[in-house]
Symmetry: D4
Subunit: 248 residues, 8 copies
């Protein structure tokens, strides 16, 4: 196709339909389009209803409001992660339809209807303290158009809680296992299901937990095959990856 475009351009030059200067100016922009960089940049909006994402942490309240404004006027759905309540309130003043999930620290401003998948993603947590990260993953997946089943507080210290939900977990297309402490949930789930498991270590714990390092190493060393790991507390990354897989 692209080659075709160039061929046509050359033919136009040959046939004097296109001045050399103009052809030159078109060709000078080709490389990036040819490489598809623009696709990367804009591919989300191209597909209807896809959200744009703001990682709010480390940005000022004003910056967040400004970025939301720009995206809003493009008509995009907007997902803001790690947003403080202060940010939410500032955005709300200008865009009253914005919504805030305090636990997940997520702002959403939906202008277009989201298509929801038939297959679903399970988001499971070891404890209740892992829920904020799990919610970040779950909401990210939902805003990207995935059906999500939440199965919280099913850690291995009381493994029967996990077993009572096994049917739902096994029917999922992909599973996100969120756990702090020793992060054993990922291994146990990985051993019980035959689907890709995305493991999210959380920084929940103390002492020799070292800010989530214990769970991270545990998950990376999982003896269950079919598990891959994202950064500590990276609920967004897990939700995004799971969405990619669920949409395949």
């Amino acid at each position: 196709m692209n080659a075709k475009t160039i061929e046509n351009l050359l033919l136009d030059v040959k046939e004097n339909k296109l001045p050399v200067e103009e052809a030159l100016s078109i060709l000078k922009q080709l490389p990036y389009q040819d490489l598809g960089f623009a696709k990367i940049d804009h591919h989300r909006e191209l597909r209807q209803g896809y959200p744009e994402v703001i990682y709010c942490s480390g940005k000022t309240v004003e910056q967040v409001v400004d970025i939301v404004g720009v995206m809003f006027h493009k008509g995009s759905n907007i997902l803001g992660t790690r947003a403080t309540e202060e940010m939410y309130l500032a955005v709300k003043e200008k865009f009253p339809m914005v919504e805030y999930n305090k636990m997940a620290k997520i702002i959403t401003l939906l202008q277009k209807k989201i298509q929801i998948s038939d297959s679903y993603i399970v988001v499971a947590t070891g404890g209740t303290s892992d829920i904020p990260i799990a919610e970040e993953a779950a909401m990210t997946a939902e805003v990207f158009g995935n059906k999500v089943e939440r199965i919280y507080d099913v850690g291995v210290a009381g493994i029967h809680r996990l077993f009572s939900k096994l049917d739902i977990i096994r029917e999922a297309k992909v599973v996100i296992a969120v756990a702090g402490m020793e992060g054993a949930l990922a291994s146990v789930v990985g051993g019980l299901v035959d689907k890709p498991v995305i493991a999210v270590p959380t920084s929940i714990g103390y002492g020799a937990n070292f800010g989530g390092l214990a769970a991270l190493l545990s998950m990376l060393n999982s003896c269950s095959s079919g598990t891959a790991v994202v950064n500590i507390d990276n609920g967004f990354g897990a939700g995004y990856m799971a969405s990619m897989i669920n949409k395949l």
Copy 2:
């Protein structure tokens, strides 16, 4: 179905078709089947042609030969990872049809025809030293019935090599990015494709590489969304996970 089985059993008891003792003995075995554990155990063989896997590292030559023997007589396809040449030769003596990929340290003994997927997995490496781990991933995926495209030595120090293969990479259903040193390949690939990327840090490097830690941390902190990470040098895990995703 299972509930149906129990119902029938109860009806049989009620109608005196089944003695209570016999029913009791059947019911005592129910829990595990009901939980589906057996499924886990045997699900691979149930699907035709699926291989059984032996992690050979840390096993003696005799143990490997014995396990191959057991699997062979079940008629399974067999995949042995991290196998030494000595192991291969010992297996070959008994099972002459076994094959060995010296670079990937993989033994394969295929008794059934493998169904190959239409969609494919890309396995890319940063350097030539990462190829053994990449081969472990690629062969694992192939033995599990996936089509694999190998794109080796496309690290970021000469990024044009990567760009010349972008078309093939973008058409894959899932990408495995294998890299040592600073592991930047995963981030760059993650930024260029719209498919799940499984990042495999390798232990290639020296000094402040700390046995692959540099690449591991780099990949976990990737600023590109849609990337998840497996353990250092865990080609098998990446191949297995990619196979799961590709087969969805």
Copy 3:
């Protein structure tokens, strides 16, 4: 016993005392009970006076009050660890009989009389700064029905203080050694007594202490046999483990 229950159920079905549907519904719940999960879940209450435990850290004040409420109405004794004074005051408003140990950050709400063991647990500390963690261990053990002897500030910098208490330490059934800094107390105690020693590293220290890592590694490498270690600052875990051993 459990087999007996199923046998009776089958007999009831056979003799038409129990409709098949009802039997089916009972049997569907069996697996977990058969596996004993329920035992895990409820075993504490089954034994008279056993407390239920709330790990308050990371929970909101409201969550703590709610959980206490649920447990209170089951008639349980309640132990809340890592509770802030604010949590205590909020609980007190609803349950005036609650008590608070500010140093140990422990809430207790005892509705049933606790049976106290004859044998006792020694809780020893290296310094005075280790006492909060030691109190967490000691109170946990006490609420679980153990006699506890506290021997504080007997660190190795003035080892004669430890020796003057040796008789009491040696008569204990199990010893908890709580120490920060270099954590040498565990090794010295381990070398002097012929009983299991549970070592608790604390985060007391500075500089190359790295938040308790120095004491943790020291205790894990103890040259004295008969010592095992819990997480840094995990007084509750040590008290719980010691209680298990003391009750054997």
Copy 4:
């Protein structure tokens, strides 16, 4: 008793039965006996059949043979851990009755009958590669007079294997959980039994396992109460601690 001894000595001095010089010389040795040091030193032999332990690692073959010789002539049972085959053969030349467990790297030379406990210790492993460390623990416990049940290769990647042994595990007085990789076995076992669990991380694994660090941190951060941890690969320490608990 000791006070009695001193009183008698003083009376003997008073009654001129004992010269002052002799009394002085006796009293000068008192402190250590009074502090019970001698008890520490010799307490094992005092109880019939108790073994003496040699940590062979880092000793020369000659040193091991010499130490065995000294112990043998005291009539002690002897346990040598981390012994090489070369050490075993050298010892065997002089003491043909010595036995060697090659997997556990343990030498035993038993001259007295060992009394075996009624209650038993369970030694469980996650994988087959953990068995050498498990055997070190099990044989240590056995030589110290404990009944041991071995339950190997019941890791969480196939958790039904563990469940099928739950009855035996739950009847134990104390459980030793030996696991490498991510070490999740300890948490799962800890959540299923109501007995003290001694967790032994092993150095089995690769990459981000960092020589057992992953399993160690995982076990220290276990969300299951009633678990304490010994050093990586410290099977002897776990067996010794379990023996202490089982003998209470």
Copy 5:
């Protein structure tokens, strides 16, 4: 020259123009001057317009004001890094011409005209959060008399942004690459340009970023030649080093 000075002195002594005592006293001070220490101390002022630098972090407001005062009266240009707004305001009260870059936390007080180089330094960042450190580098370089081109937010997650600036980057004499997260920018830039690259890891990130360690290790292990690294967040050091190189 220096040898000449001594020779003259000796001639003066020989010719009785200089008393021995005086010559002795002069010679006793020689070593430091001979070694050039004084040059080190004062060399910046010797070259016209060179700034003096204050590292404000860890100093009190009063100390900063005092040091600025001393430098001001020497007529120097002054650069204060890591200065708080409070420091700026206190300095401003006494020296109203002082300027403050809030983002870079830099105070400048320029009394002499700075000569600007023809060749330029590129300062590039991966994300917007890296800009404060980049500004510290850029302003340092500028105050030292270098032309600087800022190219911000060109991280590898959207690599086309970087390519669109490649011409400007390639014409620089030296490039400063500032990046947090996984720090891949340095490797990619290093692979694209044929000039020295100074890599500045930033502490931007979370979880397994470990305060910039991920980016630091990534940059140290860069597979691109021609890259050297400064401390995490050390914008000043990078600016200073780049200035040295640009001025060669």
Copy 6:
């Protein structure tokens, strides 16, 4: 002497000057005295003017005031390290003669004249930010009766500053080198003097300094012989050790 005491006691018993009960009660206290523990406990006061030390960090204001009170009434000189201003003010209310060095965070309450040594200790620092730790070392040494020479801000970035003080440093009996950042001062000083050097790493620095780890490792690996290291920021420990050496 001690043996003599026992001999006399025995003679007294023999000669009926001392009842057996009384002798027994005296002898029961002997062990600790015989082992010299009491010496340890009280040896500081025994030597005239020696201070008692309070490590104030982690203690409450009330605890500090109480301990000062007890020490004061024994007539001791008192040294309180890591004391907050609030602690100082609270102590001052009761003991107006107390003095406070705000920079060193040291409280002193001297009731007896301190004997000052002839030989002296040099306390040198790399930068000005290291001075608080250096003052803790210097004041500790002074209160223990040592003459101290302070040589501050002589770090290796401007090594001529150090050389200009070399004479004073070389005449010291022991040198304390206090430095943060890369801690090179200790090596350079160790290479220039022929006296014991006590190196104190400080937590001054940022980024890859890791809270003083860089300086600590640097000092432990010093290529200069005659250097030993104390914990990060442990000025007191260095002052105490230097005092011990200076008083030999």
Copy 7:
């Protein structure tokens, strides 16, 4: 220039001098050339006499011989780093003119005369054990056409050795400071010269050196401005970077 090429091509098409198919085929290769990738790829050979580099570590002897062969036939100068003696001998068999520096583990095969710079690079080491890494740096720089002055064994333990070479060091255009142990050389040199210093930590040391980590952290935290650091033992990287700077 490049735009000119395209313009000419278009004119040729227009004027029928170039068939459309041929033009298309040329244009399809444009992107990379336009982006300058080819420059990167081939720029070294373009400048006369520039060497091609082989990082031999991790390659087989055959691979090294093959790569040398390819390069040789392009007429390039060849630099092989981290080459074993075995590799050298194998290469020599085919290319007898190859030379080997055993200490630096460097193979050179020079077919074109190298132009040597007027300005020079100083390569300094702390000890004699650092010389192999220093030689790797020095030879790399030399093969790239730089004059190099070696100043070895001038570590800070005997700082006068360094001072006696200060004149030569100060006249260099760039300094490479190679040191293991505590790596203080970089800071001291950085404080004495007014030129860019490239610090190379080596893995020389033991114990708390942790394979060069001590020197690495020390150099990253250098209190001397104008210093940047390469990976542990990365002599090649330092030589390459210094060459880039020296050639500016």
Copy 8:
């Protein structure tokens, strides 16, 4: 003295006894002598019988033989640390009077009588495996002219062994405490004696010992004052430092 030398030189110039050129040439070498560098270099030989030290590790056999040769012909006593048996044999061939301590890996070649101190150094170890490092310390101290008392295998697992040697330890002028595992010996000794303690962590241990890190951190965090630490396994450094202190 030095000033006198210069004065005389000036007088000679003045009185024409010395040509200006010659005086100039002498003065040009002055700086280093004036700074006393030469003293550093040669001070050991200046004092009668002082040994020269060779750190043999990382040197070739030939290098060691050569260095010994140079030192021998200066008439020095020679101490070679970390020498292999092969080195010893090669030296012996040329200098038959050389002696070798295989355990300490120390070569000594004494040509002058060593003056032995009256006061003594105690070298104590925790276990028998620490003895090689202890011997390195002890022999270093002895060759430097110190009387040494060895007290080996007195670790805290059997603390009575230490107490039985307390008299000898307390009479020492300085104590070297050598220990691996958890390194508690240093703290216990530091709490029992009133003399400077030099702590030497050894790499003896396994698992979470991390090559001596556990003992190192333990010793740095010692709660006993008067302790300073040298690098892991640095027996020579401890012996040198102790010698410095003992000779004060």
